[in-house]
């Protein structure tokens, strides 16, 4: 089946893409470029780099702008998916939703209206098991945003590895944060992994952090051969 993956370049959309590639053909990566940094639906930090990550994965990207206003952005998403059907002949849509009923139900409704299959291959996955799977399978995932207490500055720009997962597990136990950031606590970007034909190298980035909100803003990056 030809599939379009909703793609931000963060770990969830990249790993959903990997799972889709194991069983089906990924025809395009659909990126919603939201003008609203607090979008209800779409990952926004460093979204401008999603194109470079799509290039690294070697799948065509379909960029679609949205103002990012609640509910109106769903109409934009529906238009983007319809364009993916027209341009790439996709028969189904893949999302990286894990726990968010808000996101999953809305994409399901759009797919139903457009008579498309809808896949959520990370749905209800145990978040710590998932993080360990990413490391085990060789994904290089960097934390590009933290948005919750008690995530300190050391998390911004950190690579998700064994010790970082242990820290997140401890914070989950003590503060009930979602260790994979499903509640919006963490945003990530993926620089390399098994589905990458080339890897992304960050050349210049700036860290911003204040009062448990921080971002790693990538200024320069390039593709390099593996």
């Amino acid at each position: 089946m030809l599939l379009g993956v909703l793609f931000s370049g963060g770990k969830d959309s990249v790993y959903a893409c990997r799972r889709a590639m194991e069983t089906d053909s990924v025809a395009c990566l659909i990126t919603m470029v939201s003008a609203n940094p607090d979008s209800y639906m779409f990952h926004t930090p460093n979204i401008a780099w999603a194109g470079l990550i799509a290039e690294a994965v070697g799948v065509p990207q379909l960029n679609w702008p949205t103002a990012g206003e609640e509910e109106a952005e769903l109409s934009d998403l529906s238009d983007a998916i319809a364009a993916a059907v027209d341009e790439y002949g996709v028969e189904g849509i893949v999302t990286g939703a894990i726990e968010s009923v808000y996101q999953a139900a809305r994409v399901q409704r759009i797919c139903r209206e457009l008579d498309l299959w809808c896949y959520n291959p990370l749905w209800q996955i145990d978040q710590l098991e998932y993080l360990r799977l990413l490391v085990l399978e060789g994904f290089e995932v960097i934390i590009t945003g933290v948005f919750a207490y008690p995530l300190d500055e050391s998390f911004v720009g950190a690579r998700i590895d064994g010790p970082r997962i242990e820290k997140l597990e401890g914070l989950r136990d003590r503060y009930a944060i979602n260790p994979s950031g499903e509640g919006g606590e963490i945003e990530t970007i993926v620089l390399d992994g098994p589905v990458f034909k080339r890897r992304v190298e960050v050349l210049k980035a700036v860290k911003e952090y204040d009062n448990y909100r921080g971002r790693l803003i990538i200024k320069e990056a390039r593709l390099v051969d593996k």
């Binding site: 889709a20 089906d24 893949v94 009923v101 399901q108 990370l122 749905w123």
Partner: protein, 189 residues
Amino acid sequence: MILLVDLCFRPRSLSRHEFVDPIAGILRRAGSEYEVVHFTEVTEDEILRADRIVLCGTALKDDLYARRIDLFSWIREFPKPVLGICAGMQVIAALFGGEVVPQPKIGLDAIDIFKETPLLGTPRRIEGYHLHNFGVALPPGFEIVAGRPGEVEAIKHADRPVYGIIFHPEVRNRWIVERFDALPLNEIR
């Protein structure tokens, strides 16, 4: 051993991560032994070894299972607990002479449990995640446990531990799978 039956349109499909793996995860974390098998590949040996059966859900556009109800006829004679989730509930209804009817619903909604059962417990209101194009009309020999005629949420066979729920317990109601896992094998009512 709990036999998780994958009802998706083909073995090892992308959908299995969404509709089978979450149920398997609940059982794994509960320390229960389970095996996953696609509905087109169930063997007699697996049926004989199974202590209970879960028929998992499918994607909205997936309806192959509904066109191959003949492959599920063994469930009629299975003497131990059976739980059909969403598509699985539709299979149970079809097997026992009920009807599968158009009844699309996506998202969270209130569910009124009005009959006490070992699976869902005492009457009360809960919230559950729905993802279905079809519901069921009550099959003969079954009773409605939750919902109402025209919008049946959960059913149970009157004399056997055979249950169907149209909503997805893996979302916010994992306790239902855990309770099913703990039902006595000789449970009658």
